[in-house]
């Protein structure tokens, strides 16, 4: 029953309908693109995208005579991304260098203004990888201050709660784990890395991958600065810098924009399923001391989502002096109703009596959102290519039922460092290409606990695609994971690209969300303000569209503009045209919190998120 039900009959009909729609629009679509390539705006579509990745500067007269030469520097290893994977790789490299008494220049670039400012996670950390990396983490003051003391799991209905016993052996058992503020943990990892001599450069985003003549990766180039909103150079324009390395580690986190290019360039996804994602929204609240139970973790499924929309909530009581709770909501991005708004589901979930009881009398002090991987084992791409490797949530090692990916990300970073170190310090460069190729990394990963763990839980997420939805999935987990430990011989498939799962708006019912009450639930814009996000206003919007006319002609007309609803920062707005007739898409790029959901869920796959000027984005503090 389960292996055969790859698609429910509803999903089959949906996909067939979408394919018909796509075919119908393919011809005019092509025509529109050819016609508008020069100006990329027809009579009724105002120009939205001005970024040079869409409109090349080579033929742009405003760039004539501008110095485009870049300053270049050499390192042994360049790491893109200062998250758990990138920092673990950097630390491991320096540990090995010290052990073997070798000199190693390790440079790490991170788009956030400080390490940890773009980090967002629940989070319940499994300390396994940390203990392997830094055994004396406690003495060194790692901010793992809240051991889990209580584990509660519920199925929610609109007014009630069904407790679900957490039996030992189920994936969500949290004994031995720590509730952490991952941003603080990442900041601490950054301090450890700096102590070991890693060169950290927060505030500088890797914007371009550089290639040798033989096609192998040469390194990266950081973002240019001083380009104005219309794409022309400002007085303060300066080219980014090139960082060349023997090998480059890409740890951009979930759905990284450089990784997206690398998948195409090196065909890394030909033997794996497309990645599937969820969006996680999170808030931190200072609650009434009487309600505070430090070490308590609560998870729920069910209300307000229906049984066919994957998702659930978490609520963790931190123990760091102040009575703080970290809470959030995750919605699988394979949802089909374009009227669904993950942000508003999150806000209305907080009104459930079980949750409201904890939050009443408290104050919200932080907000943020980020996409996360749900593809697991089936979606792991090829991890190595000449000149580089993929680490962390970028290829995606998250254990979905446990909702933990930090420990596997850290381990992948460590294994990457161990695979790469002997090759870069060897007397002669043992590689066919100028950029080092280290396929040993994939081998050691396959033999590690990461692989075993992901293999055991591989069928849990796909098991939700059946008639009973959530309940079928839970039954499957109970039988095949809890009893049989994931040893069943088959591997279930996912549904395909998340972007293809949306049904046309006319086939779906709009959802009536309650108005925010300003005490428990809030409106979008005040939430975005709490994330501290900001970008230099006068720069090309970094949410680029391949075709400026597609949002109105397709997203709005067929799907009623789902980007207005799935963006957790209010970046996308359909506003009436000044001339009166019709709508246009307005992109409020300054609000972006770098969650990547739009790039993932856009049904036309027209949105391409590229990195803005470094230093911009959210200013999360211990999220």
């Amino acid at each position: 029953m389960f292996p055969a039900s790859r698609y429910s009959s509803k999903a089959h009909r949906c996909i067939r309908a979408l394919q018909t729609v796509q075919v119908e629009h393919a011809a005019p679509q092509l025509y529109a693109t050819l016609n508008t390539r020069r100006t990329c705006s027809s009579v009724s579509t105002p120009r939205i995208t001005t970024h040079y990745t869409v409109h090349s500067r080579d033929k742009d007269s405003r760039w004539e005579g501008v110095e485009m030469e870049r300053f270049a520097d050499e390192a042994d290893v360049v790491i893109v991304g200062g998250g758990p994977a990138g920092l673990s790789a950097a630390i491991r490299l320096k540990q090995l260098a010290n052990e073997h008494e070798k000199e190693l220049r390790v440079c790490l670039v991170e788009k956030a203004s400080q390490i940890g400012a773009h980090t967002l996670s629940g989070a319940c950390l499994e300390p396994s990888a940390l203990t392997e990396l830094i055994p004396d983490w406690k003495e060194r003051g790692a901010p793992l201050n809240t051991p889990v003391t209580e584990d509660v799991f519920s199925i929610l209905t609109e007014k009630h709660r069904i407790p679900v016993p957490i039996l030992p052996g189920l994936p969500m058992v949290n004994h031995g784990n720590y509730i952490v503020r991952l941003g603080n943990f990442v900041r601490w990892l950054g301090e450890q890395a700096e102590e070991l001599g890693v060169e950290l450069y927060p505030g500088y985003a890797a914007a371009e991958v550089l290639f040798h003549e033989d096609g192998s990766v040469k390194g990266i180039a950081t973002n240019d600065v001083g380009i104005s909103k219309d794409g022309s150079p400002k007085d303060v324009f300066e080219r980014g810098m090139e960082l060349h390395a023997k090998v480059t580690l890409f740890g951009e986190g979930c759905h990284g924009h450089l990784a997206k290019q690398l998948y195409k360039q090196f065909n890394l996804r030909e033997n794996c399923e497309p990645q599937t994602y969820a969006i996680g929204l999170k808030e931190v609240w200072a609650i009434d001391e009487k309600k505070w139970r430090p070490g308590r973790t609560e998870h729920s499924v069910g209300w307000p989502l229906n049984r066919h929309t994957y998702g659930g909530s978490f609520l963790y009581h931190l123990n760091e002096g102040e009575p703080l709770v970290a809470l959030g909501f995750v919605v699988g991005l394979d949802y089909s109703n374009p009227y669904l708004s993950p942000f508003r589901e999150f806000q209305r979930w907080k009104h459930h009596p079980f949750v409201a009881a904890t939050l009443e009398g408290g104050t919200r002090i932080a907000y943020g959102a980020r996409a996360l991987n749900e593809g697991g084992f089936q979606s792991i791409p090829k991890l190595t290519f000449p000149g580089g490797l993929l680490i962390g949530c970028s290829p995606g090692f998250m254990n979905v039922p446990k909702i933990k990916g930090t420990h596997t990300a850290m381990k992948s970073g460590m294994l990457a460092a161990e695979a790469v170190f002997p090759k870069i310090t060897a007397e002669s460069l043992d590689s066919e290409t100028t950029g080092l190729h280290a396929p040993e990394y994939a081998e050691t990963l396959k033999n590690s606990w990461v692989w075993k763990e992901l293999h055991a839980v591989r069928n849990i997420r796909p098991s939700f695609h059946n008639y009973f939805g959530l309940y079928g999935g839970m039954a499957y987990t109970g039988v095949f994971y809890w009893i049989f430990r994931g040893k069943e011989p088959w591997t279930l498939k996912h549904c395909g690209l998340d972007a293809n799962q949306l049904k046309p708006a006319k086939d779906c019912t709009p959802i009536e969300y309650p108005k925010p009450d300003g005490k428990l639930s809030f409106d979008l814009l005040s939430s975005v303000a709490l994330s501290g996000t900001n970008h230099e206003g006068d720069q090309p919007p970094h949410l680029t569209l391949k075709d400026d006319s597609v949002p109105v002609s397709r997203n709005l007309s067929i799907y009623d503009g789902p980007e207005q609803r799935f963006c957790p920062a209010g970046v996308y707005e359909y506003v009436p045209l000044e001339t009166g007739e019709g709508m246009r898409l307005q992109i409020n790029a300054q609000n972006c919190v770098h969650c990547k959901t739009c790039d993932i869920k856009d049904p036309s796959q027209n949105i391409n998120w590229v990195v803005p000027e470094g230093g911009g984005g959210p200013a999360y503090n211990g999220m």
């Binding site: 300053f71 520097d73 670039v109 203004s113 400080q114 940890g116 400012a117 941003g183 603080n184 900041r187 450069y201 500088y204 950081t222 600065v225 001083g226 400002k234 007085d235 303060v236 300066e238 980014g240 810098m241 200072a286 102040e322 002090i365 303000a529 709490l530 501290g532 996000t533 900001n534 200013a619 503090n621 211990g622």
Partner: protein
């Protein structure tokens, strides 16, 4: 003239971050919060570097008072073109109570020690909005001051400053040595690019303590309590003029 310019830079909470008052109302939460260089200080550094590029002055020295993290702010100034830095170490409780009077005493001492020709500061810091340090430093040194500068030009040993004032623009000519404070329209600061940040790591930052400069930083002020501004109450829409008059009478305004 030594041809040396001192630029004061302050590390403040980034302007886009939402401020939160500490639960004990003793101050504002700063731990882990994103900080950056005060925007007016950026403009001051840019002006100093521009003067150096035009060969009016020879050396730009960036100065900051505060804990260890103040060095990051000095590094940014070095990456923008300053030649060396001075970090005046003030930590803990002393830093919490550090205000314009103490800072101006420190700057005055340093200006004398470094034989500075010019002292350029931002007009105010965006965390306390005091707008006092520049003026106090000038008074302590008995130097002329050109505050709220939107245009600065050196003419021999005098400086012409166009100041933004309530009535419009005022142009003054002052002698050197002098204190200038930068206003918004003075210039557009350049970016601190990565190659310059890397080069800045090699530039020197000297560490001094206020006591070394003979300055006593005990505060004459005590902060009793910090509170959030009162919540603005929602307005009430009225339908007619009579309703408006009735509401105004109700509230006792008329």
């Amino acid at each position: 003239m030594s041809g040396r310019v001192l630029v004061g830079v302050k590390r403040v909470i980034d302007y886009a971050v939402k401020i939160r008052v500490k639960p004990d109302n003793s101050g504002v939460v700063t731990d882990g919060v994103k900080h950056s260089m005060n925007p007016f200080c950026e403009i001051a550094v840019e002006e100093a570097v521009k003067l150096k590029e035009k060969k009016f002055i020879k050396e730009v020295v960036a100065v900051s008072c505060g804990p260890q993290q103040a060095q990051e702010t000095i590094r940014t100034a070095l990456a923008m073109g300053a030649d060396r830095g001075i970090h005046v170490e003030v930590t803990g409780k002393d830093y919490d109570t550090l205000g314009p009077l103490q800072v101006s005493k420190i700057f005055a001492a340093l200006a004398k020690k470094e034989d500075a020709q010019l002292l350029i500061l931002g007009k105010q810091a965006i965390d306390d909005d005091c707008n006092q340090t520049g003026q106090m430093t000038a008074a302590l040194l008995d130097w002329p001051q050109g505050t709220f500068a939107s245009e600065v030009s050196l003419e021999g040993d005098k400086i012409k400053v166009v100041r933004e004032i309530d009535g419009g623009l005022e142009t003054i000519k002052i002698n050197t040595p002098a204190v200038l404070t930068a206003d918004l329209r003075l210039n557009t600061p350049r970016y601190a690019t990565l190659p310059n940040i890397m080069k800045a790591k090699k530039k020197k930052i000297a560490q001094v303590k206020p006591a070394d400069l003979g300055v006593d930083i005990t505060s004459r002020l005590e902060v009793l309590r910090v509170d959030e501004p009162p919540q603005r109450l929602a307005g009430v829409t009225v339908e007619t003029v009579d309703d408006l008059v009735a509401k105004l009478k109700e509230s006792g305004t008329i």
